[in-house]
Amino acid sequence: MLYSRTVIIIMLSGLFLLALLTFAELPPIFYDFADKTSVYIQEGVVDTGVTNQVTAILFDYRGFDTLGEATVIFAAALIISYFAPRKKAPMLGVRLGVLVRYGVASILPFILIFGMYIIFFGHISPGGGFTGGVVLASIVIIFDITFGFGQGRVHLLSRDTKKSIESIGLVMFILIGIWGVFFEGAFLANSSTLVEKGTLGEFVSGGMIPILNIASGLKVGAGLAIIFNNLVKEN
């Protein structure tokens, strides 16, 4: 412990009072920002050409934040694969039954399709690159848990492939941003030179947003798989 317990309790009660007082003066929870920030709701569809406004904010209005966020996952995956112990750790040692193994094997393709659906339709329905990437990463995780650690690396994706996919996702994100510099005059500007703007609510719409969705899906999926594989360590 860095400080003694009395100091902690005094500090925390001070913080508690401060938070309580501050919260009492915050605007009410269900406060309507209508006049201030509903600009995204009112103009988002015209601006970006996608109906899902969370995706519009993540990949267009504040796409630069998303680049930073993808960089954080990249850094975390890199760090954890560096710190991972070199030896194989003893695991539970429980071998799962035939029923589980066949059941999981038959479900996996559907999970793959589901994840890809979430990524590809992220701009017109709930979802997006991050959610879809997590679903894709869960394939590797489920595979490893069911068939034993290390099997995923042999039968699905090798360690090097996962790292390459992750790097490619990040590089793709940056290249799309640079594309915007050349064709629209600003980094990450939504450009329709490569992809048609399309009609609102259809699959082909939103210019670069679906492609950014795919890039971040690859990035997040591979990144989380690397993190998982290194935390349970299989080599």
């Binding site: 007082l21 501050t22 003066e25 209005y61 934040d65 560096y82 710190f83 940056i174 640079i178 600003a186």
Partner: protein, 491 residues
């Protein structure tokens, strides 16, 4: 022209991402790529700094209006720090090339992510974007502290990780409350809406930001992690963390406080007294702890805490001289402390010397290194012809002019304490050798950065008046936040 700003943030991320593919060629050919990109980036930041003059550059990412998207803002202050940072990173790249033995790929990826994050923190004009870049910097820093995988490194890294992530959450709270009350995240727009907030919320958010960033740059009650972390990290990283990273985190706090609250707010509530008392605490605890250290890097790390204290005292005085002196001291301390950590790193690499007593009669074995150490140490103490003296003098004069006697006296006492512990090392170093020990040569990868830091510290004195003019301009700029707000709103 404006695209240079985004290039400076994105190119390091890009390099970090492709490092995986060029890992095999990293030892010679790949390193040339790194080197050339670093040189290009340094030149570009010099170009932007010279070309921008006194106007403020605003870059709208994604071409959105400032009410919808993220903006990058480059003014005199951020560009000056950016130039300083790029030069330091260039020499650290050279030093790291010599120092790091295993897994070059991971190391240089993390190195470039650190650079990207720090550049982003300097340039961004959006609160949440600042948080994202702060997290990139922090996560990379936690890992780099433990990069050697020694017991001490892992333990220090974990301590830093826990405290640092709590600090990030506290900062995120401040940002969240600002968003909940003003409905916007852009610094300039939020600054215009600040007068609508009740005093309590305004103060609460201030405390959140102050505590959060205070932990990040190791102000007095929150300092315990710094000595462990900076002493256990690999030496090029200790140099970067001590010399650049904590200063840029302090810069972020200055930027937020001056733009959102303005100097008047601090003046009216007498908050500068709080700053100065915490600064005095930092100075005393840093120097007193440094006195009893036996490990060289640990002593240097405690001295960093003390010098952050000097800077905070200078900023807290709010007098023109004090603030200029504080900014000048950031540069001086940065250059000198980086030189000292390079010195410690060279000894660890070549002779595996970590304790102060092991430095015995080093002068007879390598005169170059010892003389360099003396220059850095005398600069840190503040002996007149060297750069440390001028900034300390400015801070003392500024603080005394503003009518605060005690902090001025404490700074003088602190200098005396640092004289004791640096002199102890120098005396050990110049002790005559009993038997003639053989000399050792040092790699050019080590000698060039150390020499460069000495040259930098001399340049900081020679061009003192020009730098003083620039810093004076920066001081006037941060005193009056309307310049920043107008420039962003009417860009």
């Amino acid at each position: 022209m404006n695209h240079i700003l985004i290039w400076l943030i994105v190119s390091p991320i890009f390099l970090a991402a492709v490092t995986h593919f060029i890992k095999k060629y990293l030892v010679n050919f790949g390193f040339l790529i790194f080197l050339s990109v670093s040189i290009v980036n340094t030149c570009l930041s010099l170009l932007v700094f010279l070309e921008s003059g006194s106007d403020i550059l605003v870059y709208r990412v994604g071409n959105w209006s400032i009410y919808k998207g993220i903006i990058l803002v480059a003014d005199k202050m951020s560009l000056f720090f950016l130039l300083f940072m790029q030069i330091i990173f260039f020499f650290s790249l050279l030093f790291s090339k010599g120092y790091v033995k295993n897994d070059h790929g991971t190391f240089f990826s993390l190195f470039y992510l650190l650079q990207a994050g720090l550049t982003g923190m300097l340039l961004t004009g959006d609160l949440f974007n600042l948080y994202v870049f702060l997290e990139i910097v922090s996560i990379v820093a936690y890992a780099l502290v433990a990069y050697d995988k020694t017991d001490h490194g892992l333990e220090a890294g974990f301590k830093y990780l826990v405290l640092g992530s709590v600090a990030s959450l506290i900062i995120l709270w401040g940002i969240g409350i600002i968003y909940a009350t003003t409905g916007n995240l852009n610094l300039a727009i939020v600054a215009g809406l600040m007068q609508n907030l009740t005093p309590l919320i305004k103060g609460g958010v201030f405390i959140f930001f102050f505590i959060g960033f205070g932990i990040k740059f190791a102000l007095f009650p929150f300092h315990p992690w710094l000595a462990d972390a900076h002493a256990s990290a690999p030496s090029p990283i200790s140099a970067l963390l001590s010399g650049v990273m904590i200063k840029i985190q302090l810069y972020s706090l200055i930027r937020i406080v001056t733009v959102l609250y303005g100097i008047d707010y601090i003046h009216d509530l007498k908050l500068n007294i709080v700053f100065m008392s915490l600064g005095v605490g930092s100075v005393l605890i840093g120097h007193l702890m440094a006195l009893k250290q036996t490990n060289l890097k640990r002593m240097l790390a405690y001295s960093s805490i003390a010098h952050i204290g000097y800077i905070v005292i200078g900023l807290g005085s709010i007098s023109p001289q004090g603030v200029v002196g504080a900014f000048y001291h950031m540069l001086n301390h940065g250059v000198l402390k980086i030189g000292l950590f390079y010195f410690a790193g060279t000894l660890i690499y070549h002779l595996n010397l970590k304790q102060i007593k092991d430095l015995k009669s080093l002068f007879w074995r390598n005169p170059f290194l010892s003389i360099m150490f003396c220059i850095f140490a005398l600069g840190m103490i503040g002996i007149p012809p060297l750069n440390g003296f001028f900034s300390k003098w400015l801070i003392i004069m500024g603080v005394a002019d503003a009518g605060y006697v005690i902090p001025a006296v404490i700074i003088a006492i602190g200098s005396f304490l640092s004289l004791i512990y640096y002199l102890r090392v120098v005396v050990i170093m110049f002790e005559p050798a009993r038997k003639l020990e053989e000399r050792f040569r040092i790699d050019p990868f080590f000698a060039i950065p150390i020499g460069a830091m000495v040259v930098c510290s001399i340049l900081l004195v020679v061009f003192g008046s020009q730098i003083h003019l620039i810093l004076h301009e920066i001081m006037l700029f941060i005193r009056d936040n309307s310049t920043y707000i107008q420039a962003v709103l009417y860009s």
